[in-house]
């Protein structure tokens, strides 16, 4: 079965981490974009069609939660999986209340990460599908078919 790659955006100030994880995901035939801070992340989601963002919570400058708020304000349909390296599970839970899909503790188990990526993409697709159907209904109603 050919799987359609997930467009993933990795956001972390640890350049080596971003690079290694992206190589690994690319090896698994996903399509990966990289950002080293919140600002870059917001620039990329403007230009690219991103499905899922893997977002480190602890970054200098704009931190994970601030970035998350801006992502959700700009593109609420993009799913966000948060990464935390220092036990701030509370912050991660706060993030989920702000609309993040889930969180993982660093270093994370790759299989779990892949599972969550797939689940996040599915939620995004389901949501988009519902929107399409709602739009279609709306069009039909407007054009007087129903």
């Amino acid at each position: 079965m050919i799987s359609i790659p997930i467009n993933i955006l990795l956001v972390d100030d640890e350049k080596d981490f971003v690079e290694m994880l992206s190589l690994r995901l690319t090896e698994k035939k996903e399509s990966v974009f990289l950002a080293n801070n919140g600002k870059e992340c917001l620039e990329i989601i403007e230009k690219e069609s991103i499905d899922v963002i893997i977002l480190d919570l602890k970054m200098p400058g704009m931190d994970g939660i601030q970035t998350l708020k801006k992502i959700k304000a700009k593109s609420p349909l993009i799913e966000v999986i948060m990464l935390t390296g220092h036990g701030t599970a509370e912050t991660a839970v706060d993030g989920m209340k702000l609309g993040a899909f889930d969180y993982l503790l660093k270093p994370c188990d790759f299989d779990t990460l892949v599972q969550k990526l797939n689940a996040a993409r599915k939620r995004k697709e389901d949501q988009e599908e519902r929107i399409r159907q709602a739009e279609a209904k709306l069009l039909l109603r407007r054009s007087g078919v129903i």
Binding site: E14, F17, R24, E27, K28, G85, H86, F110
Partner: protein
């Protein structure tokens, strides 16, 4: 103090009888002795706090008796009685540790006064000793708390600093494994060796990660989310969670409830973690086909748990260290040595207590108490 008696030592029977009779009339509990030797025998049998002794006695004299008492019963006070021309004996008695001396003939009121003063001195000294002990224990606790606090800060820092490079190693290793598993790499030379090395790296990452995650758990002071705790249910859930491990060793857990369940307020998820950890330990310690017993008893304002296994037990020299961080008897890589340390932190965070007794080869019993944390109305 009231149960301790006076001891009157004098070889002159008439004098002794007179004092004893009059002191008894005033309500003093006392014992008499006609010589130093019999005085020492009485002291071995009875609880005595103040000794009134004549100095001039045949056989062992009052001063030798004083020396004996001071070396054997340092908590006692001695009042010496001297002949009226013999103040020097009394003075040398005080130098040797007597409370005071009185010259014969003595006034009873004077004597009673001295006895009371001696008793005050004893109780003052006891209070001071207790205070010193208390201060010492507080000091110990403070040192321990400080150490833990700095360990908490340190561990959070270490965990953060280690987790990030660890995550990089983890992804790099996973990447290499993925590459090696691809078709183009199928027939490279010594592929097995590379696979083997990578899998060692992978398991070592997991091992290091377990340590950092445990440390983070400790350093993170979770906000207690207080709600109704149904201890019976929590235990049932935990046992279910561990059912595979239990089956593997064919271990049965019997839960005995010694009183009617009372709902207490505490943090169920933290208690669940305590149960999970203690039961896992108990399973590891148990021999196959054994029992683990859990006793629940509800108190007026909390719940007591006892978790008893019949496993290996803990050697006495380790009893004091099991709660310390990084203490483990498991093989390297199997235990982080943080389990009980974290558990103790959780229990104390929930204002509870945890203690254990163990006999080598007979098993270990943990007693935990969780108080109800609902504010009293």
């Amino acid at each position: 103090m009231e149960s301790s008696k006076l001891l009157i030592v004098d070889d002159e029977e008439n004098f002794r009888n007179a004092i004893v009779r009059r002191l008894k009339k005033r309500g003093h509990a006392l014992i008499e002795a006609d010589c130093a030797e019999s005085a020492l025998m009485s002291m071995a049998k009875e609880s005595i706090d103040v000794i009134v002794s004549d100095i001039k006695m045949p056989g062992m004299d009052g001063l030798s008796l004083l020396a004996q008492i001071k070396s054997q019963y340092p908590d006692c006070e001695v009042i010496l009685l001297t002949g009226h021309a013999n103040a020097t004996d009394g003075v040398s008695g005080i130098k040797q540790g007597a409370f005071d001396y009185l010259s014969k003939p003595i006034s009873l009121d004077h004597l009673i006064n001295k006895i009371n003063h001696a008793r005050e001195k004893i109780s003052r000294r006891k209070a001071e000793e207790q205070e010193a002990l208390f201060k010492e224990s507080i000091k110990h606790k403070m040192i321990a708390t400080e150490r833990l606090a700095s360990l908490g800060t340190l561990s959070a820092g270490v965990a953060h600093e280690i987790n990030n490079p660890l995550a990089i190693i983890n992804e790099a290793c996973g990447w290499m494994q993925t590459i090696l598993a691809s078709d183009q790499m199928k027939s490279i030379p010594r592929k097995n060796d590379l696979d083997k090395a990578l899998s060692k790296i992978e398991t070592s990452i997991v091992r290091a990660r377990n340590i950092t995650h445990h440390l983070l758990q400790f350093s993170r002071k979770p906000d207690n989310i207080i709600s109704d705790v149904n201890m019976d249910l929590l235990i049932t859930e935990t046992i279910q969670f561990l059912s595979k491990e239990l089956e593997k060793k064919n271990i049965h857990i019997s839960v005995q409830n010694q009183s009617n369940p009372v709902v207490i307020g505490s943090d169920p998820s933290q208690i669940r973690q305590v149960l999970l950890n203690l039961l896992t330990n108990a399973i590891h310690a148990s021999f196959p086909d054994e029992f683990i017993e859990i006793f629940i008893s509800y108190k007026k304002n909390g719940v007591c748990l006892e978790i008893k296994d019949y496993g290996e037990g803990i050697p006495p020299e380790n009893l004091n260290t099991v709660f310390e961080p990084f203490f483990t008897t498991k093989a390297p890589g199997e235990g982080t040595g943080l389990g009980l340390f974290v558990i103790k932190g959780i229990v104390e965070n929930l204002k509870g207590t945890i203690s254990l007794t163990s006999q080598l080869g007979r098993g270990t019993q943990f007693s935990i108490y969780f108080p109800c944390l609902y504010q009293k109305e």
